[in-house]
Subunit: 211 residues, 2 copies
DNA sequence: ATTATCTATAGATCTATAGATAATGC
DNA sequence: ATTATCTATAGATCTATAGATAATGC
């Protein structure tokens, strides 16, 4: 791949660029408070795209915003892959996920604002991180790293706590985010059966390659 | 109080009834999927109230929906008072809260649907159950029932897990709700420092007076 | 007489489409 | 020639208000 988005012919790329401009505008709007009552005209203006072009790509506002959320979920998942792909210990994956998410509130507020407002819908669905987290939790139980908890209940506690941490970071920006993430990770690991000392140790391991 | 809503003169009561009809319509709409893009005209129709009356009580749709959410939070709080006011043990309060909430998904789906979609905003704010939960968590730490966790972090785990449980109940209605609530409560209690056995015992105590 | 609700409507949106314009493919 | 975008607009909303109607207070 010489330069970004070099697939298909020039028409295909032009089409993709217009679509992406609309999705990017939708992401900005979602991040600025999540009010989707804004008009299609204003969305097109913000994307610097002709009004009618909207209908070349989406049938409704809801469809565009759904696409924007999927776009964000993929980006969030990529961040996990980049920073946590080498981690083997399921317990360390959990604490790494909390700490990475807390940091992304500062480094990528747009993604995390959208997650804050929209991720609930994907908490137990097949898209996003849920299936991977479920797999890691099952592995943790199988390996004896975790108690024999029900993986779906463990996922519920995990996703709920993670989203609540993101909410806390945004509603109380003055708090120490890494400390909060660490302590919350300890709590979740204890809930999975790790001892106080084990949880404290795991949650304080250095995070692998955080640029 | 002879009959409900007997305060002020007849005009005041008429006014209150109109306002309540609007709030009740807003609650229904919120519970049916949370789409607030519905027109004021349709809201007034559903409330069986003249269109112009809306503006006698609210300046905007957002204001009405906010009032509806406050109404729901108060009702949710009342359910806690009714069923858990006699409970002294902070650990038992936690597990009781989970199990009560899971049951309310069946007994009062409107309230819980609205909570599902709107409670995130009130997770760490001064309204709703958050201040009371914070106080109970502080008491649990002070009494040595819980580890010396940061109460705000403990609240984050509690509220996040509770809302995620509600989400799970709605997205997977086939699951055993009481079993899920019990297991999740056990997990949260372990995260607060209770042993596996203690957590299991507390989460299985009979719920006080559940009509 | 006062207060609240209701009906009717003006003006301001907003959506969806049709037709014109511009870019690309071959 | 084909494909995509852009401009202009018709028709359908939707909001907010003004004035009429109904209910209550005293």
């Amino acid at each position: 791949m010489p330069t970004p988005a070099t697939t298909g012919n020039r028409n295909d790329r032009r089409r993709a660029a217009t679509r992406q401009a609309l999705v990017r505008a939708a992401r900005q709007i979602l991040a600025e408070g999540g009010d989707t009552a804004v008009s299609i005209q204003l969305i097109a203006e913000r994307a610097d795209v002709g009004f009618g072009s909207f209908y070349n790509h989406f049938e409704s506002k809801a469809q565009l915003f759904d696409a924007a959320v999927v776009d964000v979920l993929e980006e969030f998942g990529r961040a996990f892959d980049d920073h946590l792909s080498g981690v083997e210990d399921p317990a360390e994956l959990v604490s790494g996920g909390f700490r990475l998410s807390a940091r992304m509130v500062d480094s990528d507020p747009e993604v995390m604002q959208i997650l804050r407002h929209r991720a609930r819908d994907h908490m137990h669905s097949g898209v996003g991180l849920a299936p991977r987290a479920l797999r890691d939790l099952e592995r943790g139980v199988a390996e004896g790293r975790f108690l024999a908890v029900d993986p779906l209940i463990a996922l519920t506690a995990l996703a709920g706590s993670l989203l609540a941490l993101v909410e806390l970071r945004f509603s109380h920006p003055e708090l120490d985010g890494d400390a909060a993430a660490t302590e919350l990770a300890e709590m979740v690991l204890r809930s999975y059966g790790l001892s106080v000392d084990e949880a404290a140790e795991v949650a304080r391991r250095p995070l692998p390659e955080l640029g």
